[in-house]
Amino acid sequence: MLYREAGDFKTSYRDDAQTFPIRFDRRGYYALLAVAAAVVPFVINDYWANAVFVPFLIYAIAALGLNILTGYCGQVSLGTGGFMAVGAYAMYKLMTAFPEVSVLIHVLLAGGITAAVGVLFGLPSLRIKGFYLAVATLAAQFFLVWLFNKVPWFYNYSASGQITAPERTVLGWYVTGPQTTAATKYLICLGFVFLLAWIARNLTRGTAGRRWMAIRDMDIAAEIIGVNPLTTKLSAFAVSSFFIGVAGALFFSVYLGAAEVGEAFGINKSFLVLFMVIIGGLGSIFGSFAGAAFLVLLPVFLKNVLGGVLGWPTDLAAHIELMIVGALIVGFLIAEPHGLAQLWRLAKEKLRLWPFPH
């Protein structure tokens, strides 16, 4: 009833091309933003921040990044964990080397450094495609983890081999270190998510996005209409790695506080983010958020239901939880191979006709 295009006339191409062409969607989006920025910070506590909101927001950034590379540009990558590690270690080195500079700038710089590394490891994509490229990025994953383990310079020769985020403030509020409150952690992540999601949307709806999608859908045809495959693929690697680097920097400095590379940024991370992108929907901004939410919330939800409501022993609940998550992913992909974003699209198409479908 409310969800209608009828009567909402567009009089300019800019209106027609906006992100939320339907008024109801637009209002929903602003309402969500308002709640996220003005209500959640006041009610959030440590449990909700650490178990749900902060990991969701950080993984959403990583998923956005991988979605640009894999979903939009069609280049499969299994190096996400490695690139997150680059972001984290760049962040650590910057924080310890330049303590007087704001961490916000450090996060962006860490993203920039990861972008450069991403371009380097993206070079093989000019020659190899599909599974073979996946294997090449897998090599990047293992190489980067090995590098951060073996070269003590990266962890400032600390005895444990760990990196620990020093305490830093933004506008007088602690954003890293043990004194950080749940609300500041949440807000700083929210800020980056908002900024990066907006950038991702801008890039994918315009020229860059069309170049990437052209390469994804048919690289020969893309070349014939004037798309340079070299610069296009490398720009996808750069932007994607920037996002993933920012995610890695926040994951280490704001969320974990201290990290050991093999544990925090191993191959599991690569798969986790890849699953998020696949379950959420390849080539969709919404899908990146949906996939991150699904894989962050589901285990928390199951843990609470199995351990809390049903009262099962923790070890049993933990194992059953893994099995249920796995089974749900498989079942879900059989039911809707194009991910949550496609379900969302279908629901919206139905909703536009509801309640009079004829």
Partner: protein, 276 residues
């Protein structure tokens, strides 16, 4: 060389306005080999500004290879390609596209995951100047270009009568419409030469008539030079100003449709000759 327009069909609008200009592209002694197989053997021909030039020949004659040489997919072992009075250095397909040569494919090469509008917008990518940062912030040239090019693309959408499917993903469209969208994408680039590889393959009579009309209109209204490969002889003879006939990688005929039709070698290639 023969420069007068070929026989006009009744569909051709305002043929008095058409003007065929000087040579725009010239192929000089092109030879293309794949290992031991000679796909094109020492072929020369030219394409004049504003004309519709057909390349015909039996299957395997080397027509598509010729088009691939022009668009930079294949690099001939011998011979030169001259474009706008200059010898063209060997270049990649995307560089060829930037010179103003657009093409369509025999088996449609659209971007299935994108909408019709986005597909046609990709045709204008070579004209987009906004940098990555401008695009990321949707600021400056990025937003301006998007609107300006959208306007041009909408004109092409009107021209090819595909307004209703503007926002449909291309993967969902029927074959005939896909062919039309592919033409639209090529046109969006405002090419100097438009290469059409079997634009009417697999179409029914009505769709063919539509496509003929569009090709003639493009040539007439935009003055676009067109080089096309086609198997339907009726279409070729009606549309084109001059025809190149190829067989087994050799050129066996070149001239107006009437000249080609009466060329004994061409008749032999198409109908066969008795050897008794």
């Amino acid at each position: 060389m023969n420069a007068e327009p070929g026989p006009m069909t009744p569909e051709t609008p305002t043929d008095g306005a058409r003007r065929i200009g000087p040579v725009l592209m010239e192929m000089k002694n092109i030879t293309l080999r794949f290992g031991g197989v000679v796909a094109i053997k020492d072929i020369s021909f030219d394409i004049r500004e504003g004309e519709i030039r057909a390349i015909i020949g039996p299957n395997g004659a080397g027509k598509s290879s010729m088009l691939n040489v022009i668009s930079g997919f294949y690099h001939p072992q011998q011979g030169e390609v001259w474009f706008r009075g200059q010898r063209r250095a060997p270049m990649r397909p995307y560089q060829v596209a930037r010179q103003g040569i657009a093409r369509t494919f025999q088996n449609i090469a659209l971007f299935d995951g994108m909408s019709v509008l986005d597909n046609i917008m990709t045709g204008r990518l070579t004209m987009m100047r906004a940098g990555l940062l401008e695009q990321a912030l949707w600021w400056g040239r990025a937003a301006r270009e998007e609107d300006a090019h959208r306007e041009k693309v909408e004109k092409i959408i009107d021209f090819l009568e595909i307004q209703a499917i503007r926002k449909t993903p291309v993967g969902r469209l029927p074959y005939g419409l896909k062919k039309r969208v592919e033409l639209a994408r090529a046109l969006a680039a405002e090419p100097k030469i438009l290469l059409l590889d079997e634009p009417m393959a697999g179409m029914n009579v009505e769709e063919k008539e539509d496509m003929c009309r569009f090709i003639l209109d493009v040539n007439d209204e935009f003055g676009t030079t067109i080089a096309l490969i086609e198997h339907d002889m009726g279409v070729v003879m009606d549309l084109s100003d001059r025809v190149v006939v190829m067989d087994y990688g050799r050129k066996i005929g070149d001239g107006t449709p009437d000249e080609v039709r009466s060329n004994p070698e061409v008749i032999a290639a198409y109908l066969g000759v008795s050897h008794d």
